[in-house]
């Protein structure tokens, strides 16, 4: 399955990601600018060709990061959109550029995602106020002190553990071992990816016996914090058609670009529902692209924790309904299985510098569809899906297709 260039289509023209790591000697703007310059060079365009820039850097969302990138790579005066959407920030930046192109306001745009987290440690939990002088109700729930730890957990490993355990409640064949196998797979995959923050294989025993963070998520089943950036240049089909043949050949079609939020469900009032909006995004994306889950040659999905990846097999329709446990046990998402998932090593091993993640996933799919993924290449890949989810919630799904020869 390969795609023809129609005038109203949108294509990835250039892409780059930095190796995810911890960069003590470089700042966010260095990382973001390097990816931006590299993506432009990869697409054989310059900053002067760019009509719109969208930038996502979650922890510096109010810091005009897009404009600061322009000061490094070229202040051309084009519109800049600094976007924030939790862990879907990078996908939101890409979609912002796509919308600008689809609207006719832009022909070529640049989307950059970047984050510098260093060793932030555990995200999401709030400390109980230490000096509780007087219990006075405050906030929307009239809480007299911090509720984290008293009324359940607000930590990310815990919230996603509960999402996985809710699936285990509803379906057979899902437990600690299945969740651990997800992490086993992604660590194994990462050994082939030189851009991954960690590139080390771990045994099932090592994963299950590593320090427990929030049952069933052990340390090796949780993504690390880190630094990194990724960028993509997007172009209209109309403009691409006038570009040289070797450029057209490496372009990758965006067959679907979808962003959803969580519709009302009863349980999402007390715990984030990461399922419904992913299912909605997936079905919209499959319909827009005219493909189904069985057409996908590879998937990069949001495995912030092993428990999350497992439930997204079902949410994205990669397995039989309720069959996510059997899917991982049978090797379905391994790189030699029918639907390779997270051959990059996923967030668990590749890393999760938040703003960069949704752009890096599109970089990964693009690189495979171009046949340029080196040792980790999924041979003959023509269609891939990139998925991210940010709590509260936002879900981005992009389906990409290889250009017709």
């Amino acid at each position: 399955m390969t795609a023809q260039i129609s005038p109203d289509s949108v294509w990835v023209l250039g892409a780059h990601m930095s190796r995810f790591a911890r960069y003590a000697d470089r700042d966010l703007i260095d990382l973001a600018s390097e990816s931006a310059m590299s993506a432009l060079a990869d697409g054989e365009v310059t900053v002067n060709d760019i009509d719109v820039l969208a930038c996502g850097a979650l922890f510096q969302a109010s810091g005009a990061v897009g404009q600061r990138i322009q000061k490094q790579i070229g202040q051309t005066g084009v519109p800049v959109y600094n976007v924030a959407n939790a862990c879907a920030t990078g996908a939101t930046a890409i979609r912002t550029v796509i919308m600008a192109i689809k609207s006719g306001e832009a022909q070529i745009g640049l989307a950059v995602g970047a984050e510098q987290m260093g060793k932030m440690g555990l995200l999401g939990g709030g400390a109980t106020k230490k000096e509780k002088k007087v219990f006075e109700p405050s906030g929307r729930y009239g809480a007299v002190t911090g509720v984290d730890g008293h009324l359940g957990t607000e930590t990310m490993p815990g919230v996603f553990a509960q999402a996985g355990m809710a699936y285990a409640h509803d379906h057979d064949g899902v437990g600690f071992e299945q969740f651990a196998r997800v992490a086993y797979k992604n660590h194994l995959h990462s050994t082939l990816n030189p851009l991954a923050q960690y590139q080390k294989e771990f045994s099932m025993g090592e994963i299950m016996e590593s320090p427990m963070m929030s049952y069933p998520n052990t340390l090796l089943m949780c993504c690390p914090t880190g630094d990194g950036a990724a960028a993509v240049v997007l172009v209209s089909g109309e403009r691409l058609a006038s570009m040289p043949a070797h450029v057209r050949k490496r372009a990758v079609k965006v067959s679907a670009s979808v962003l959803t939020s969580d519709p009302f469900t009863e349980d999402c009032q007390v715990q984030p529902d990461v399922n419904t909006l992913t299912r909605n995004a997936a079905s919209q994306a499959y319909e827009a692209a005219g493909v189904g889950p069985t057409d996908l040659d590879l998937v990069e999905l949001h495995d912030c924790f092993a428990t999350a990846e497992l439930i997204h097999y079902d949410n994205l329709g990669l397995c039989e309904p309720g069959g996510a446990g059997e899917f991982i046990d049978s090797g379905g998402p391994f790189r030699d299985g029918p639907t390779p998932v997270n051959v990059s090593g996923g967030l668990i091993s590749k890393g999760h510098p938040i703003g960069a993640t949704g752009v890096a996933n599109v970089y990964e799919i693009t690189t495979h569809l171009r046949g340029e993924a080196g040792d980790r290449q999924v041979e003959g890949a023509t269609v891939g899906l990139a998925h991210v989810i940010g709590l509260a919630s936002a879900c981005g799904v992009h389906i990409l297709e290889k250009a017709a020869a």
Binding site: L122, G125, G126, A127, T128, K130, K132, K133, V134, F135, P137, R140, Y141, G142, A143, V144, T145, V147, D148, G149, H150, L151, G152, T153, T155, P157, G158, A161, Q162, A163, M165, A166, A168, H169, F176, P211, M212, M213, S214, Y215, P216, N217, F264, E266, D267, Q269, V270, Q271
Partner: protein, 132 residues
């Protein structure tokens, strides 16, 4: 003189028997523990306070071993669906924090426990769920 007690959150009512109170949409019955401008499901703007059933089923849990400083671990965080269909997040208490002791689908019952006393001697009371 008896110790003054305050609930940890305003949707926990300590008298006459401890129970939770939800804001229920008068149009569609959706329940919320905080104030809403309009119902997130149907858009109606009328709500009334309703008591929430104390018993329910454990629908999901995690055993938290790493938390922010000052939070004692391990503890069991849980999502409970009460017998009247209300979803609640809290801790499972009076139960070993081990995967062997906590079972998905087990019956649980609301209970309360003190979590500390302020400088005026007022005691804060939290709720949790214990195996029924």
């Amino acid at each position: 003189m008896a110790t003054a007690r305050v609930p940890l959150v305003n949707y926990l009512c300590l008298e006459p028997e401890p129970h939770l109170v939800a804001n229920e949409c008068t149009s569609c019955g959706a329940r919320f523990f905080d104030r809403r401008n309009a119902c997130a499901r149907c858009g109606s703007t009328e709500f009334e306070p309703v008591p929430v059933a104390g018993s329910g089923e454990l629908r999901a849990f995690t055993i938290v071993h790493r938390a922010a400083p000052g939070i004692p671990v391990p503890f069991v965080s849980a999502i409970v669906k009460t017998d009247d269909g209300t979803w609640v997040r809290s801790n499972v208490v009076n139960c070993d924090p081990t995967p062997e002791a906590v079972e998905l689908g087990m019956r649980v019952q609301l209970t309360t426990h003190p979590i500390g006393t302020d400088d005026d001697g007022t005691e804060a009371v939290a709720f949790g769920y214990e195996p029924a």
